[in-house]
């Protein structure tokens, strides 16, 4: 299925204040692939994701999702294909109840009411939160908010899931549940995170961004085991690996 290919060709992005966040990024993500994006703070991960989802448009170069090239005109179309889970759940959940929040996307897609209800139910059941449907978002725990935020995106049935730090502020069990959930999805996944263990568990491929450029790109269990490469980028070996090494050396 060629229409789920995500491709960046030498993309540049410059913020209005003059900060150059992307300086020529190129890569290609195939259908069904899950890709982790890692890098130190301020290296351009979030900007990259915003460029992929049509929230920002590259100042130079090209982003295309399937056959559609991102520009002012195709923004809406791109957004329909790409589901974006934002880093802060309070930004993502803006409706007064969980149910309405999940229904927001499908309603805007112009679906009839019974279809909307069906999608909301499926999405909430998938993340195990159907029982929360009448609760207001400000009465949920952070883990529940995260699951609901994912449901809001799932309900739109996007081809591609983009997530910015999905595991931030989660306790270990919620984080584990999130990882299991992510592994259930057959979508193309692009996940930006500092949680390298999560990337190792969920993504088969990993891209390291540095100073607005692709610094390394390859299979996760190759890149995330390269200690010197990671340290050069302000990262560390994933904990599971450290433990593994520790056991072997002792």
């Amino acid at each position: 299925m060629s229409h789920h290919i995500v491709e960046l060709k030498d993309a540049f992005f410059k913020y209005p204040d003059g900060t150059e966040a992307l300086k020529g990024v190129s890569f290609k993500i195939l259908h069904g692939e899950s890709v982790g994006i890692a890098g130190a703070n301020g290296m351009g991960k979030t900007t990259l994701l915003l460029n992929l989802s049509g929230h920002l448009i590259p100042t130079k170069g090209e982003v295309s999702i399937g056959e559609v090239t991102l520009c002012q005109k195709t923004r809406q179309e791109i957004r329909r294909k790409v589901g974006f889970v934002f880093q802060r759940t309070d930004d993502q959940l803006f409706m007064p109840t969980v149910y309405e929040d999940v229904a927001f996307g499908p309603v805007n897609l112009g679906l009839p009411e019974n279809k909307v209800n069906e999608r909301v139910k499926n999405a909430l059941e998938m993340v195990g939160c159907y029982h929360l449907k009448d609760r207001p978002p400000h009465r949920l725990s952070e883990g529940q908010k995260r699951a609901v935020a994912i449901a809001t995106v799932i309900a739109m049935e996007p081809d591609i899931l983009i997530m910015d730090e999905p595991a931030s502020n989660l306790d270990p069990r919620s984080r584990r549940q999130l990882i299991n959930l992510l592994n259930k999805f057959k979508h193309t996944k692009i996940i930006a995170s500092h949680d390298l263990d999560l990337i190792l568990d969920v993504c088969e491929r990993c891209i390291i961004i540095r100073d607005g450029k692709v610094f390394a790109d390859g299979p996760s269990d190759e890149i995330l085991l390269n200690e010197s490469l990671l340290e050069e980028n302000g990262l560390e070996l994933p904990l599971t690996r450290q433990l593994h090494n520790f056991k072997q050396s002792s």
């Binding site: 915003l50 989802s53 929230h55 809406q76 957004r79 329909r80 790409v82 589901g83 974006f84 934002f86 802060r88 309070d90 930004d91 993502q92 959940l93 803006f94 409706m95 007064p96 109840t97 149910y99 309405e100 229904a103 927001f104 996307g105 309603v107 805007n108 897609l109 207001p136 978002p137 400000h138 009465r139 809001t152 995106v153 739109m156």
Partner: protein, 266 residues
Amino acid sequence: MKFDEEFFNLGYLDTLSYKDTFVHRLDPRIKIIVTFIFILFVVSFNKYQISALLPFFLFPVFLLTAGNIPIKAIAKKVLFISPFAVFIGIFNPLFDRQILITPFGIPVSGGWLSFFSIIIKFILTVSSALLLIAVTSFPGICEALSRMKMPKIFVIQLLFLYRYIFVLLDVALRMVRARDARAFGNKGKDIKTFIRLVSVLLIKSIDRAERVYQAMLARGFNGEIKVMKKYKPRFADIIFGITSVLLFYIFRNYNIANYFGEAIKR
């Protein structure tokens, strides 16, 4: 920590509105209309009337007991805004010194009568408005308003207000705590710091608004928000509406308290 208390206090009224009792389950539209009619009836009495107002206490008391709302929660809030009502009526006893009634031989001037009438009307109207919020979830009220043809833009503003007031207060709370943690004694609590705190809060809110808008766009926002329709008027709603309005009408046109008094005298 005054701010902390106020913060949890605000959330408290919201928590109450998610209970599940007979009055909580009523159609929000009916509750809004009945409360509105109630207020109209109460304020329609003349300024010397006291005894005829007393039966109207039945309505807030009913909401309070049937809705299982602790009286303290409401009483505290009524008390909090009572200075406004007191100041409106406080000068009446000075201007209006004509003796109107002499119960038990004590002369009572028109000024005092109208003062107490204002206070009673204030308690009745404010407590029932607060109780309306306490027994109806806020989204329910918004749904009702939109179905009663309130302009959509106002309803959406209310919805967002409700969603983000808690987030905003949470941010403010954390900022105040952070300030207190490093402001020993009263240093750092002056007006100058306060202004900076508020301005940072404003900037943070604008930033958040931007992000929320992005999140809305990500899910196909095109200027329209549909308010869900959950409630259908049931038999109980109609009965509640009709009996309340009927009772208000009787209370308004017949002085029940007077009849009771007469009956006891006899």
